[in-house]
Symmetry: C2
Subunit: 183 residues, 2 copies
């Protein structure tokens, strides 16, 4: 909305691990101020990430319960994962839904794109709404069977206050789905 984007004077990789890649960027802002920024890149090795809101009907949705190594506890979330090379976004969403929640969907639709922390991370995630579900389980690469739980949209305000549901992207996806269904 006005300002011209800072000039990237230099960009280099400063660390790389199995999963993560960290870049350092030298920037010159339009007012002449120069700064060195670090950002997390390649969080998902170039593959599209996708998260699914599985709707059982207009009032209920499916969540998974999975061990989260970042917070070191079991957390509620929505089915999610990486789209495979050559795989369509909606097909990847349906596959993750089958692997993690044990449901397939006859109707899938892209809802939006979310970032995690646009200041510090290049990561983007596509959000897909899945409707007209049927029971179907595919074997994924999870180390253990994930918990599957059904909640109602009229419980959402309380759900987002639970200590075992903290993931902002899944919350946004559910708030947006609730708005969509309420229209």
């Amino acid at each position: 909305m006005g300002l011209s984007t800072p000039k990237v004077l230099n960009k280099k990789e400063v660390a790389r691990t199995r999963l993560f890649r960290i870049e350092e960027m030298n920037l010159r802002f339009s007012n002449g101020v120069e700064r060195t920024y670090e950002r997390l890149a390649g969080f998902n090795s170039g593959h599209s990430a996708v998260m699914v809101v599985p709707l059982l009907d207009d009032e209920r949705f499916v969540m998974i319960e999975e061990y989260a190594a970042g917070t070191e506890d079991y957390q509620l979330s929505l089915p999610k994962g990486l789209v495979e090379p050559g795989e369509d976004l909606l097909d990847g969403a349906n596959r993750e839904l089958m692997e993690e929640a044990g449901y397939g969907a006859r109707h899938l639709e892209r809802l939006t794109e979310l970032t995690l922390s646009p200041n510090y991370m290049t990561h983007r995630m596509q959000v897909v709404i899945a409707r007209d579900l049927y029971e179907k389980r595919l074997q994924g690469d999870e180390p253990e069977m994930l918990g599957v739980h059904i909640f109602r949209f009229d419980q959402l305000s309380e759900l987002v206050q639970r200590p075992d549901f903290t993931e902002a992207r899944a919350m946004v996806a559910l708030f947006m789905a609730r708005d969509l269904l309420g229209q």
Copy 2:
């Protein structure tokens, strides 16, 4: 809700930069399966991160517009930053509000805690609602003056679809504030 947390067999740092620290964890799940996980730790060097929802009244809120090095464009977000050592959470929230948006608040209240990606990151952020605002600007460490914009909660559904507003945590904070005000 049932499963016992995996045993952490080993945890070590595999990379460290100015801003980020990456850890590798060896885990044994309760079914005996062993896995090696990587996670991003120390995203904010142990300081509490805080995000502020500044309410002008029951219908309008203040957003900032800032260059985001992760997505390499200007993005809308809410004022946010790190609480300083010895600083109270609400005082830190008010300071960031003054530095980034040019407002102080007479009433601040903690709303919730959010994670970014609990599977891969230890990061947590506190969300604070700020009311009864007055004009007050403090000098921060931003490389340039941030844009300040006022929006209405009845615009939120359209706002979250804008390509320059993608940050999941700020969206959740606004959806939760809207629910709170609607009660």
